[in-house]
């Protein structure tokens, strides 16, 4: 699995799944992305991505409960796997290391945000 690469949008979805904990399913992930990352994507795009993430082994899924709101259909709930966690950490560490190497930009940026 070490070879697996994590795309930018994949990483975002993965983070949202961690964030949403028990209730991470397609539509909810879309909402979270809209709320936290201010990005509008189609539901189909989210489904496509989680599908890929599951194939890569970063998340696993089980069917959850349905509701009247969903016309009685069940949700597919996603949880992050260990390899998913480690790739997230790896991705973060890599980026931190890179940021560390460019202090001027890093300070400027952080300063700007503050």
């Amino acid at each position: 699995m070490g070879k697996e690469h994590l795309g930018e949008f994949e990483e975002l979805v993965l983070l949202m799944i961690v964030l949403l904990k028990e209730d991470a399913y397609g539509l909810a992930i879309r909402h979270a992305i809209k709320e936290h990352a201010n990005r509008k994507v189609t539901i189909g795009a989210v489904h496509g991505t989680v599908n890929r993430l599951e194939k890569k082994g970063f998340i696993e899924s089980q069917l959850g409960g349905g509701s009247e709101l969903r016309g009685g259909r069940r949700k597919r709930l996603f949880t992050i796997t260990n390899s998913g966690k480690s790739i997230l950490e790896k991705s973060r560490d890599e980026k931190m290391a890179l940021w560390g190497k460019i202090p001027e930009l890093s300070i400027l940026k952080i300063g700007g945000q503050g």
Partner: protein
Amino acid sequence: MKKHLPISPKFSDRILSWCVKEELFEEISGDLYEYYNELTSKPTWKRSFLYWYHFIHFLQPFAIKKLEGTQKLNLYGMFKNDIKTSLRIIKREKLYSAINILGLAAGFVIAVLILLYVRFEQSYESYNPNSDKVVRITMDYLDGETLIDQDCETYHVLGPMIKEEFPEITDFARAYGLDGMIVTVDGKQFRESNVYAVDPAFLKMLAYPLIYGDNQTALSQTGEVVLTRSSAIRFFGKENVVGEQLSISSNPLKIVGVINDSPANTHLKFGLLLSYTSMKRTLDKRENPWDSNDTFTYLELTNPDAHPSFRENLSRFSDRLREEDYIPDERIISQGIKDIHLHSHKSYEAEQNGSATLVYFLLGVALLVIIIAILNYINLSTAQAINRAKEAGIRRIVGSSKAELRARFFIESVLLNLFAGSLSILIIWAVDDHYKSLAGLPENFQILTDPGSWYLLGTLLLTSTLLSGIFPAFVIGSFKPLNVLKGDLPNSKRGVIMRKALVTIQFSIAIFLLIQTFIAGEQLSFMINKDLGMNTNKIVVINAPVLNDKKQSFEAFSNSVRKRASFLNVGLSSTVPGLSTASMSSTTNIGLDEEPRDLKNNFFMYLIDSNFFSTMEMEMIEGKDFPEISNFEYPIVVNEEALRIWGIADPKEVINKKSTFWGRNHTVIGVVKDFHQLGAKSAYLPMIFILWSGEPDYISVRLSEGEVLDQISELEEVYREHFSTSPFDFFFLDQNFDAQYRADRQFQQIFSVLSGFAILITCLGLFGLSSFTVAKRTKEIGIRKVLGASISQIVNLLSKDFITLVAISSVVAIPLSYLIVENWLNQYSFRISINLWLFMLPTLLVLFIAFMTVFSKAYQASHINPAESLRDE
């Protein structure tokens, strides 16, 4: 609230369940459903839009069912099998497949090529975004209220007047044609035939934006010239020539702009434009602007819809001018410039226009050929259906539904059509160049790279697939399986009758096309071989120099030429036979003596020297040819047509009569036999020949026997001695004259090709049908032979049916063709009379070809050894 759902989820769920993988279906539909319910606050349309937007975005590779494998489309296997068996059948029945594919491909090729031609003819002026708004005004010559002639040139004062008068006209642009100008650039001389003096608005109105130069000011001053890109390159060897100088007839002019060349699909083509004010000197000299209508006038409307009302206003305006006696016998009308190419055939058109009739005629024929090809397919496949009945029966019994069976045969048609389509692309690619020259399309006309041809081919393919596929599919699909398997073949009377009817239709079309081809060919050779009233052979016509060379040089030149043994005679004239009416001036209201001057017919003026008639070998039927020195001040010769208009039967009567026009009193000294100025297509024109001592436009030289090329170089030598600076441009009179038949020749050639194809396709079909019949009757033939039938009896038996059909077709086709052909011939002023043989010959030819087709198969069948054909029962 929750129960209210304007989109039935059932419907979208159904679509989803068709195309989305089963294991993903629940979550996807659930999410969509939930999403939809979240949107309750939005307006319904937005809700639906957003819903479908997300819905469609689920159709991605990850979600869509695979065609094969465990989640395959239900019918996929069936389709695959259908295609496979169809391909096998196509391979096994090589003859039928080849006939079908060839027939359909030929039909496609014909249809695409003709439709492209039609599209080109209809595309005139389409390059111009303003073309809907631009109209041209033209003159109608009236006798009382009867229309005598139409002229597309108008008075040069009309443009400005109309712009003043009508609020719906935003601008006017006149174009005054100058023929055969000599352009001098740095001492080099070029003969430029398409020169127009135009108003500045011309460039904008006819959509020629300057590539180089100032769009605002170009052509507004006297002495300004705009060149097309290719003239610029021809004159200067480069494109940007703004600011350079050139001169026309020794007048220095300044180049202020360069524009694109006129496209092939415009009625007004030119190489050089002059500012209209440069012509003022010529125009202002005339005292009365209503003397001469010699300029094209284009007007721009505020919007295209204003044309009908403008027409009415123009008619009132024209009536007023008529009452005020400016134009006593004329009417001004307008036409959209888009209508000019196909619908306008007036005097003095800028070029020979196309013909809407021809375009529709060809369109009809293309349709007929396609119909023949499709009928062929239907015929062959339903005839063959009997061979396929067993397959159909078995399929039904093993559980195929009618619809599945139909799909199976439909797929076969689809495949055959696809093969035919690909073949037709190859053929079109191969005949591309040849076709362009045949149909007279411009060299750079793109056939295969034009998306239009692909749309066309696509549409054709689709239509033909549907038409040719549905019928056989239904016939075969409806066989009753039990009967079929019992051997009770559905050889229904109805099917046989229908096939016969279709064959009859095909042959009627083929016979009609061949008759039309024969008649067109006959008419063409009639026109080419017709006595023209002169001898056009071995005459070289030189474009006269128009520079500073004076009259003396013309006479001196003529004399030097006449001294040489290579040349028999020299004649000078303002025009020569074969040139359009635009090369002549014309005058109305010409009468004789005291007779009233209210003849509205245009009389065409021929300015000639005393040697012209003898050079052309034109025959004087009365009076004298022009002598070197005449007793009369203004002698004229008229032709027979002029007498006819004057209503004079005896040519003797007119001799020495006076005729006053152009402010001079002319005396008729002779009558010349009618000759064809225009091709034999057009009627004779009333002509008046005036002895002219001014500069001629053309020098005609009759060559003696001998090597033409040597004579030409000898002629050039003499020419150089007299006119050292002018270019030596010449043409052969007979070639130039024959060029008028180009359109007719093209029509005849296109038609031969079309009828050839039609006959080919029809006979392919006949061949297929007869070989099928023979195959079916092999046993019968065997038995007959055993019982003592002779070969001729068997051939007779097998071919009788088909030959009868062809005979019936001829009975249908001949009267119909007669009507159409008679109509077609009436467009010619000099036409052949219809002769029974012109109908019988093509019919017999088709009959013969059909007979040979059937015979080849029947003869073969009659020679099969009965022992062979009867062995397996």
